[in-house]
Each structure stands twice: as C-alpha cells, then as structure tokens.
C-alpha cells in the first residue's frame, strides 16, 4: 500500500474543481488511457488576465487525481506567467509530497498546464507538445526535451528516477542507455560551466590579484562550504556584510553572537580560512548590532 500524505488522500477523496470550464480560454490534455493516466485541464481568464476558473478531468490513480486537483487550486487567481512558473515539484510539495514512483503524476499536471497555456496562446490543439524534441522512450512516447526539462527541474541523476518522474524507460527498457546519455549530458553541463568562485580561484592560481567582486564570490563560497557548516555544529551562523579592499565585514549570528570565544573563532578559524583561500593580508571585522 502506498504511503500517501493526508493531503493526497484528502484531494483524492474530495477532489476540487472537477469538470470542464464552459467555453475555455485554454485547454490541455496529456496522457492516455493505455498509459494508465490521462488529464484534461481547462481554464478561463478574467478581465485582468488572471485565471478565474480552472477545472480538471482525470483518469488515473489516487495521486494522479490528487495532483490534478492540487494543480487547479494552485493556478486559480494567478496570471499565466505566474502559473507557468509552477513546477512539478511545487505540485508535489503542495500535496505534502508524493511517493517517488508517483512523481510522474505531478509531472503530468505540469505538462497539462503547459499544453493548456500553449493552447491559449494559439499554439497546438491542447494535446501534448510531442513535437518538441525527439521521442526517446517509444513505449510511453517521452521526448528528450521532456526528460531534459524534468531532470533539470528535479535534479535527477539516475534512469530509475527519470522513470519515476516521466515514465520514460518504464516499458521495454531499450532506451535506458539513451536516457543515461541525456542525464550525463544534463549533469555534465552544470559541471562544465565554472562558478564565479572557481573562476576567481583560477585567476588567483595564476598569481593575479582579485577584484572586490571576485573576493566576495570566493568568500561566499568559502562560508557556504566550510565556515557555516562548522559554526552550525555549535548552533551559530555567519553572514557576509561587506568587503572593502582587504577588510571583510561579517555578522555572527545565533549562538556565536553571545559566545565568549567568538573573538577567538574570528581570528583562529574564519580569518585563517580566508587567508588560505583569498590573501594573507585580509583582516576580518565583526559587525555588531
């Protein structure tokens, strides 16, 4: 038996906004009976361009029905731009989470919304935009673009996860290799582009001095990765306030603020870390108030 959240069960047993909007401004339909779930979303805009009414009809399991119901609640009162910003994760979060194997239900909601908005804008007939990208999973008709988008939005790293979220790879399994390639590509791209902090480190390695902004990048990176985790262990925290030439202003927070040894922490730990990564001539000052 699935471990559904109370909210999933509530939206399944008492679905909101069931039906079809009469004379809708946008209509989206995704999935199929053969695939095991199908969702038709219709909406109408008010005079200010906000979604005045949204209704759904869904064939599917409890989480598919609950995701559809949640989606209609979430989009009401929003402009199309605001609605378009809703991610499948937002839908799952709204429901208090979905079992991993059921995440594709939230993705279906997200896709129905896409299809309905595209339909309003005069693109497509409200059916899924299958023409975007090339079909990777032939069993479930999932394109490389869909896999890329969902993998990026949800930080997916394995083929199993992609199957849970998009159904791709859940049939014959012949496309697993292709899905892995897409994942490698998606995850590789984020690694290839160096962060500003990495670029600053490279510059420093060449013996060049850093600009103020580069110092900020490096120090912020250092705080996130090493300093803050260490302070948090003792219930403290830190905020970077400013960098002025060789003076770094920070604000100590939480337990650090009232800690008698905070001065020691400043010199022995924080300043030394920054010396290692930025420059020996940096001095750290605490900002109080």
């Amino acid at each position: 038996m699935w471990n559904y959240s109370k909210k999933v069960i509530d939206h399944f047993l008492h679905p909101r906004n069931v039906g079809e909007v009469e004379d809708p401004d946008g209509k989206g339909e995704v999935g199929s009976l053969a695939c095991g779930d199908m969702l038709r979303l219709t909406f109408k805009l008010d005079a200010h361009g906000k979604i005045a009414d949204a209704r759904f009809k869904t064939f599917g399991c409890a989480s598919a029905i609950a995701s559809s119901s949640a989606l209609t609640e979430m989009v009401k009162g929003k402009t199309l731009e605001e609605a378009a910003a809703i991610t499948n994760k937002d839908i799952a979060d709204f429901l208090g989470g979905l079992p991993e194997e059921k995440m594709h239900c939230s993705v279906m909601g997200r896709e129905a919304l896409d299809a309905a908005i595209a339909n309003y804008r005069g693109q497509g007939n409200g059916k899924t935009r299958t023409l975007e990208g090339t079909v990777v999973c032939k069993c479930y008709g999932v394109t490389d673009k869909q896999i890329r988008d969902v993998a990026r939005a949800n930080d997916l790293t394995t083929v199993d996860e992609v199957t849970n979220y998009t159904k791709a790879g859940g049939g014959c399994g012949l496309c697993h290799e292709k899905i892995q390639q897409i994942l490698d590509d998606v995850n590789g791209q984020t690694e290839q582009a160096p962060t500003p902090a990495q670029r600053a480190h490279e510059k420093r390695a060449k013996g060049l001095s850093l600009t103020n902004l580069e110092k900020v990048h490096v120090i912020e990176d250092l705080i996130d990765k090493r300093i803050r985790p260490a302070l948090r262990q003792d219930g403290g925290d830190i905020e970077l306030v400013d960098v002025d030439q060789n003076v770094v202003y920070v604000r100590l927070k939480g337990a650090c603020r009232s800690c008698p040894s905070s001065g020691h922490t400043m010199r022995q730990f924080i300043e030394k870390e920054i010396h290692k990564e930025v420059s020996q001539s940096i001095r750290v000052e605490e900002v109080r108030e």
Binding site: F12, V18, D37, K57, C61, K167
Partner: protein, 384 residues
C-alpha cells in the same frame, strides 16, 4: 465496521482451529524434533502427523514425498533448481507467460545464466495454448513448470494432460498449486506430477510455511543445504508450530471441500452477476467455464484500479487489482498483458477472491458500494 475481506488469493485468515492446534508448540512443546531426549523428540510425531495430512489432501502415495518449506516461493525454487541441477545437460525450461513471479522471475534469472526458456502463451480467456506447449517440450527440456490455476483470473490449467505429456517424454513436471490446494480435488496417485508446490497461508494456515511434493524416486538436490531435516532434502530446524498448523488446515479443507467450493462459487457468482447487472461496461476476465470457484476478475472501462481499491477501502472492502499503479510499475499485470486485455481495461481490473469465511452480506456490501464508486470515478474521467 465489518471488514469485507475478498482478497483470499493474496492471503487468508488463519482458521481458529489452526491457531488452537499450533498453540501447544509455541507454549509447552517447544523442543527440537531432532533431539535425542523425549522432550524434543516427541515433537517429531506431530510433524509426521502434519505430513500425513498434507499427503492426504494431495493424494500422495507416501507422506515421505512431502517436504516442508518456508513458503510457496521456496517450493517453486527448490523444484526448478533441483531439476536443473540433476539434469545438467538439459538447456531448456518450459513455462507460461502467466506464472506467478515466484516462477517467472526465477525463469528470467536462469535465462540470464544461459538457459533457454519458452514462455507458452494464453488466449484472451486466459486458457493455455496446449499445442504450443506440446511443441515446446523437447529432448533438451530440463523441466516443465505450469501453474495449476492462475492467481489473478482463477483460470485452471489442464495439469493432468500436461503431466501425462511430460511423463510420456520423460521430462519432470512441476506445478505451482498454491491457488488450487484445498479448493480443487487433487489426486497425485492418478496424475503423474513430479513436483507440486503449495503454501500454508492460502489455505488458512499462517504465513511462513509451505510444502513441496517430490514424487518418490525423483532425483533431488536440496535448495537449502544444511542438516539432515526433511530426510536431507531441506536443511533448517523445522517451523514446528506452523507445520502443525498447515496439517490442521489441510484436514479442515479436505473435510468440507466440495461443500465449501459450491457455497463459495454461489457467492462469487452472485457478486459477479450483480456487478455486471448494476454497472455498465464491465468485462469478466478469464474463462468462466474453467475457473477456481472463489475467484472473479472484472475489468471496468474508463476507471483506474488503484482509485477503485482506495475507495473500496473507505468501506473496509479488501480486493486487489492488476492495474499498474498498485504495483509501482508502469505496465498493467503480466497476466492481463498475456491475455491481450486492452491496457485501458487492464488498468481498471479488480479481483475479488472468496474463502469459506465469506458470507452473503459481503457480497451485499460490494453490490451496494461498487456502483457509486465506479460512477464517481467515471465522472472524474476525461473519457466517458
């Protein structure tokens, strides 16, 4: 609220008589049947008694042909792996597309290890293609494994004919009879079956005990290697209380089998007829002419099985579904696919399975609640 339990092909309630028979072996007689002292040794006689009872319900010629195991799955693995080990030069396994995962996934694993597996087809009513089966059994076949009745549809396979066929060709025949023991008469003195698997918890004994029938004279290599228990055919100290319980369960099932079966079949038929009358666009899956008396599998168009089960659950009605969503996989059950049931109907398939503990009021409860559930889900559905 009364629990309306109609999922007896999944598991059954433990009969009160079974619990009573087991208690002494949990309380006072907790000795090891292999011990030399009387305290332990006296327990062995009760295992023997249970063995006789199991042999009795199967019509086995000799109780020593029964080996107690931990479950039906273990029995299946023990039979098939033994046949492969004792016939090392044979490369083929013949089974069906609709076996229980206990056999199907083992076959797939063996396929990965170089065995050739033939999965025989079924038709739209779930009936086995006997011609295909006959053609598949060749000189290179190590074992044929065909279930006696399918757990999802209840369709009964002609194991007597298959056993004869295998005997003629000198190939061992294993049948997974987990769903038929206690429901259908079984006479192994007349049917030349080599191995038969059964499970305790499907016949009102507890979970964690099963049995494997091994026809006398069959070469056998144990699956669990260890002590001399079960005449060296299954190592491990006996699960005494559960074995005694399964013996009692067999005794109870054998006593009223015919009467129970016809009473259960009446309930099943009332439910099936009632639902088909009350709800439009319902299909009965499986051959109604050759089916277990306790099972019905129905396909409801335009609705999804998990949603049906959860709404039934609101009324304390227990059933199961061949829908993809209930398993976490994306495809509907392999049985529905093998039968060629359209996916949209397979996703809406529901199995009700009865036992002798069901009453007419269980049928009434489903007939009362099911029509509004289906209507409600169809109203939600984009396809009407």
């Amino acid at each position: 609220m009364r629990t309306v339990y109609l999922d007896n092909n999944a598991t059954t309630r433990v009969a009160p008589e079974v619990v009573e028979a087991m208690l002494p072996f949990l309380n006072d007689m907790w000795g090891n049947p292999s011990s030399m002292h009387t305290f332990g040794g006296q327990v062995a006689a009760h295992i023997d008694r249970a063995r006789e009872r199991v042999a009795g319900i199967l019509g086995a010629g000799d109780p020593s042909e029964i080996v107690f195991t931990s479950c039906g799955t273990e029995s299946d693995s023990a039979a098939i792996l033994s046949a492969i080990a004792t016939r090392p030069n044979k490369g083929r396994i013949v089974t069906t597309k609709v076996e229980h995962p206990a056999v199907l996934n083992l076959a797939k694993q063996l396929e990965g290890r170089g065995k050739q597996v033939v999965y025989v087809s079924v038709d739209g009513k779930g009936r086995l293609d006997m011609d295909e089966l006959a053609c598949a059994i060749d000189d290179d076949t190590a074992i044929v494994s065909v279930m006696w009745a399918n757990n999802e549809t209840g369709v009964i396979f002609p194991v007597d004919r298959i056993a004869e066929l295998c005997a003629e060709r000198g190939v061992p025949f294993h049948t997974d009879a987990v769903q038929t023991v206690g429901k259908l008469p079984c006479d192994l003195s007349k049917i030349p079956i080599t191995f038969l698997s059964m499970s305790g918890h499907k016949i009102h004994a507890p979970k964690g005990v099963g049995a494997l029938y091994i026809r006398g004279g069959t070469p056998f290599e144990p699956f669990l290697v260890g002590g001399h228990q079960e005449r060296g055919r299954r190592g491990g100290t006996e699960n005494v209380a559960s074995i005694v319980g399964m013996g009692m369960a067999c005794e109870l099932a054998a006593k009223d089998m015919g009467e129970d079966a016809s009473r259960v079949a009446r309930l099943r038929d009332d439910l099936e007829r009632g639902l088909v009358e009350r709800i439009p666009r319902v299909h009965v899956h499986g051959d109604p002419e050759r089916r277990l008396p306790n099972t019905t599998n129905l396909g409801f168009e335009s609705v999804e099985g998990e949603a049906i089960l959860l709404l039934l659950n609101e009324h304390n009605i227990c059933a199961s579904s061949g829908s993809a969503c209930t398993s976490g996989s994306l495809d509907p059950s392999h049985v529905m696919i093998a039968m060629g049931i359209p996916f949209e109907r397979a996703h809406g398939s529901i199995r009700f399975s009865f036992s002798r503990y069901n009453e007419p009021e269980d049928v009434q409860a489903v007939l009362e609640h099911m029509p509004p559930i289906i209507e409600r889900l169809r109203e939600l559905s984009p396809i009407t």
